[in-house]
Symmetry: C2
Subunit: 220 residues, 2 copies
């Protein structure tokens, strides 16, 4: 076919803005849906209508990675989907441990969407004896005291923290000492870890407060 | 005291940027911590060191609401905390219903932080007969078919959707017809609701993909 098979690495090693990065998973989701519906190609205009963003933003975002629509042809859906997955690191297996096996930890372990994208939960950890030994979708809940032993045998790329605010910072520091370099943090606190450690926060109370702001700034 | 008691409404009804709004809950959290530690006042410089943002950003953000530090005095912590809470609508009671009483729905219902900020879970709803009739922290799980009846008696300001992707859009539309105007959406799909309906998305798989991007863009 005539589509331009450009390798979608950032052009000239230029820094991609966090705003663009945050939009990539949404492109990936829409492209996955198109693929499931057997759509072979799509113009930036059609994609923009579906995603409710401007066609020019789509072109600009994708240009960060070398672009690769073709004038008059549009984007090859499968190619773009696969490239986008590769950019997002979804072609690799990302082993995850979950700290805290309460409702939220279990909800994450039960999320089937993660499996499909290379995220593999390899263990849950808790202090609660009623939870330890239990399995969630086949994954065991271990005693948090066994963390060092576990990580000596298994490599975890990401640690998801679904711990109380009072416990999260201490355990995060221990995990850094044990070699974990990326945190998905649900605890409502800033972790303040070394600069080379990545932290992605999901602060649920901040999210609902933002919604509350929007509700009341309209009504007042 | 000498502090400037300005009413923190947006100045001249100017539009506050979403980026500023997203930062407000974090200010609120830090101010709450300071207050718990009996800190009476704080300079933008000290606050900036704690929060790891620039003092000038803090001053600019707060200036959106009329500012109210005083040169050489700094911010009155309790006053700023209360005003920030008021701006965020946390002085009102926001009744919430949770659609989906699985792990994630239960995790939200169990989150004590919400109570302290005026968010009140008034009901959970599910289709699963094993969950219906159960209570989570005293809040009942109702049959989702009873939604109309429930909302005829109780006003819900916010509907939290912890539903599968396949069910969320239909139920969201029903809720809009029943008068719900704000959604806290955890389903991995865009809801496409009428323009006057507010949606705050928490897309967990997009969040972890963003983290994966950052991990693999460093390592590659």
């Amino acid at each position: 076919m005539g589509e331009k098979k450009v390798d979608m690495k950032p052009v000239n090693e230029k820094v991609i803005s966090p705003a663009v990065i945050k939009r990539l998973p949404r492109y990936y989701r829409y492209l996955g849906d198109l693929l499931k519906n057997d759509v072979v190609r799509i113009s930036s205009k059609e994609l923009s209508r579906k995603m409710n963003v401007t066609a020019s933003q789509i072109r600009q975002d994708l240009n960060n990675f070398g672009g690769f629509g073709q004038q008059g042809y549009g984007y090859n859906v499968e190619f773009l989907y696969n490239e986008m997955g590769r950019i997002l690191g979804l072609d690799k297996t990302n082993n995850i441990i979950i700290l805290g096996a309460g409702n939220l930890g279990q909800a994450l372990a039960n999320n089937q969407e993660f499996d499909n994208n290379g995220f593999k939960i390899i263990g849950l950890f808790d202090v609660n004896p009623r939870l330890i030994g239990m399995t969630v979708r086949g994954v065991e809940v271990y005693d948090i005291d066994a963390l060092g032993e576990f990580l000596a045998k298994h490599k975890a790329v990401i640690a998801a923290l679904t711990l109380p605010r009072s416990k999260a910072p201490k355990i995060a520091k221990e995990l850094v000492d044990l070699g974990v370099k990326a945190f998905w943090n649900f605890a409502p606190i800033d972790l303040n870890l070394p600069e080379d450690v990545l932290v992605e926060n999901v602060h649920l109370s901040e999210s609902i407060m933002t919604l509350s702001y929007r509700i009341h700034s309209i009504n007042s």
